[in-house]
Symmetry: C2
Subunit: 295 residues, 2 copies
């Protein structure tokens, strides 16, 4: 038995529906079913009585729920108590991140970390991968989130997240009304594109295309996301950006679809300098972030 089983059990017991519980847990439904079944096998009893349109807790399930709740409560209390003891960690951590999924991850990490170390504060700067790498070398930031491709022998990097590249399609384009939540690169080959200004992207995007030799029809490049959606709205072209950037989804003017191609994956990295020494607070934040990741 693992706490994972307990968390999953509680989610199902609260929702009384495997499908909804799985959504809440951010996993697919089949693995949830399997984990619950494993738990039941270990306990030697069914915890839920499944009929196709209703779920009941069995007698054993009701009993187990008490204990399950206790375990989770103790887990939480142990964390709270330890963090209340107050760590000796103090200081200021300089962070930088690219736009897209970075700010979301960062917010969660900082919130979690500050519960453990309330005397550590943060200073966040946002920019492009190239700018951030430069700042990392200079000591203007301790830890940062950048995007692939990236490689620098003086910088330690760890993969932290992947997400699909997405196309923001103006409603004026017939592709916008195509059914399905993803589109293939063939569908927009040759069409006018709005894309990130980073130099390497052009080459990368061409690799998805049916004819990689053919130059892309790039009508506009933008380094900052804030401009992208507005550009797409005007109908001047299809914008290609990491999914989290287009997270606002469809509106009156645009439709957002994932790009369906095995290589159309945007990867985020956590980085720090290999040479420059960073403070204990920074080291602790680095370890904390990596131990938490997407969870």
């Amino acid at each position: 038995m693992e706490l994972r089983h307990i968390r999953y059990f509680m989610a199902v017991a609260e929702e009384m529906n495997f499908t909804k519980a799985a959504e809440k847990l951010n996993i697919a439904q089949p693995p949830l079913s399997r984990q619950i079944k494993d738990l039941e096998n270990e306990l030697g009893t069914e915890l839920f009585e499944r009929t196709s349109h209703a779920l009941h807790l069995t007698e054993a399930g009701i009993l187990f729920k008490q204990y399950a709740a206790q375990m989770l409560e103790i887990e939480g209390r142990s964390k709270a108590d330890i963090s209340k003891m107050g760590s000796s960690l103090k200081g200021l951590v300089y962070i930088a991140t690219v736009e897209g999924y970075g700010p979301h991850m960062l917010a969660e990490w900082i919130a979690g970390f500050r519960k453990l170390h309330p005397d550590v504060s943060f200073d966040i700067w946002s920019g492009t991968t190239d700018e951030i790498v430069h700042r990392t070398h200079n000591g203007l930031c301790d830890i940062a989130i950048v995007m692939e491709p990236f490689s620098d022998p003086d910088i330690i990097s760890k993969h932290i997240h992947s997400e699909p590249w997405a196309a923001i399609i103006p409603k004026s384009d017939p592709l916008a009304s195509q059914k399905g939540k993803s589109i293939k690169p063939e569908d927009f080959a040759g069409k006018p594109l709005i894309m990130p200004s980073r130099a390497s992207r052009n080459e990368e995007f061409r690799k998805w295309m049916p004819d990689p030799q053919k130059p892309l029809n790039v009508v506009c490049k933008a380094a900052h996301m804030i401009n992208v959606r507005e550009l797409a709205k005007t109908g001047m072209g299809i914008a290609i950006f990491p999914r989290a950037t287009g997270i606002m989804g469809d509106d009156e003017y645009v439709t957002v679809k994932n790009i369906d191609h095995p290589k159309a994956i945007a990867s985020y990295l956590l980085i720090k300098s290999r040479k420059r020494r960073i403070s204990p607070a920074c080291e602790a934040f680095w370890d904390y972030a990596l131990s938490t990741k997407k969870k």
Copy 2:
């Protein structure tokens, strides 16, 4: 955080020594170090203060130990209480197993299962894989442990354990005094062998040899383990059997060494008939065994 972390932490806290705790947990020391470190990162504090010849709990460690103990206690109590509720399962499960590791696994499974279902009893029979398969078809046994190779469309099988094949070497043979706890097939190629009487073994063992065409020099075959060691003691040849069979290790007359070859692995399978219906108690035992495996 998972219960695994808690169990590992408690083991270290009790032994106050990573190496010994790892042994007790039946894992290697490096993964234990890593799990503890992960836990510390999640909590944001060190739980142990490591100096090379002494280990102390930190203040946070002392606090956490309280909660850790509580969690494990609740886990145990939940299992005990659920099993006390009494399941409706009753009956007799007919089990069969080959010699070697089978009886050991079975004993643990039955002990664990009977805590959950005290009204289920067991009848165990021991024999060779071929005999057992026959009995399974006849309905003379419900669930059994046999060895690979095995394949029968009317029988469901699941892999449950692997162990090295081992050589039981008479002290009279110079190989017995060779250093190292394993030997290579080349070392005993051509020497007189004592081996399991199952027909397929001859061909299997030849595949390990430097010249697979050359027939083995088999001086004696034995279907039952009880005879093997005695045969080897006489010095008539080297006996090849699954490691658990030679588990008694070295004595005055023989030395036991694992056979160092990628294919020299003996595999155990749990089987049941695909056609014949078995009782709910049998099904529950099947599920329980597979969910527990080697743990």
